[in-house]
Symmetry: C2
Subunit: 175 residues, 2 copies
Amino acid sequence: MESEPTRVMVAVNESTLRGYPHASISSKKAFEWTLKKIVRSNTSGFKLLLLHVQVQDEDGFDDMDSIYASPDDFRQMRERNKANGLHLLEFFVNKCHEIGVGCEAWIRKGDPTEVICHEVRRVRPDFLVVGSRGLGPFQKVFVGTVSEFCVKHAECPVITIKRSAEESPQDPADD
Amino acid sequence: MESEPTRVMVAVNESTLRGYPHASISSKKAFEWTLKKIVRSNTSGFKLLLLHVQVQDEDGFDDMDSIYASPDDFRQMRERNKANGLHLLEFFVNKCHEIGVGCEAWIRKGDPTEVICHEVRRVRPDFLVVGSRGLGPFQKVFVGTVSEFCVKHAECPVITIKRSAEESPQDPADD
């Protein structure tokens, strides 16, 4: 008898270049790496826990041009944000379904670093996979990196998967 | 057809408490975690690359009480060191053999941080597993940590496995 599946949390976010529902290059890479190198053909041995954290400030910024005249407008905005997040997760869940690996996906709002660490404490995965843009120290001064924070603070083992040079867009801060 | 096995480098060292041929608590933990959570029943899908780095200064220190009177004495010392390292690796190789996962094991001499990063560049594993004593910032000032250096500098994904609190000896710098 095999024991319980290994529970792998994968943090995923939207592309800065293409926006919702497209996944960022680095989170897509981290997800695909996990399937190819860890899960492999052992689909019953793993369960993927797909967490998408929506950054609240950015949501507000996207709606700067909108006019809010009634409570309904806010409800619609919240529904649109939620739909965006769901479409992003749909890509990952579909892929898991295709290859037959169990998964759960959910959305949280807030600061990605804090929320990911909080969800790790709550859900207790066996380990966490995060993508990374692979920025140099100079570039990091301006953008900060979620992966480094998680490596230091998440209460479970963390593996960081960097994009390859070929996958990186012209501006390495884009993803 | 399954693709080539996933190549996992695991850095292992000797116990500071019990000495050779016993493995340190943290490297044993990292190895066992890899088998239980990653390899699982998919033994043909993985190959473990077991690297033991012998610290040269410590070797010299162990031999402070010895008398070297002839070139033969030095040869014997070198052979004893080599035998120590081989006995350490034997434990890990036997375990791999028992469960039927492919492995390769080898010894290098030098500074563990530099040697591990060098071997990663040479061998190109899919990822590296390192154990960690899980020291706090105050304790780290005095002992330094191999795992943190590897996370920053190794040219492959790195996963750090901490000892649990129950596994830690009275002095957390021991291992």
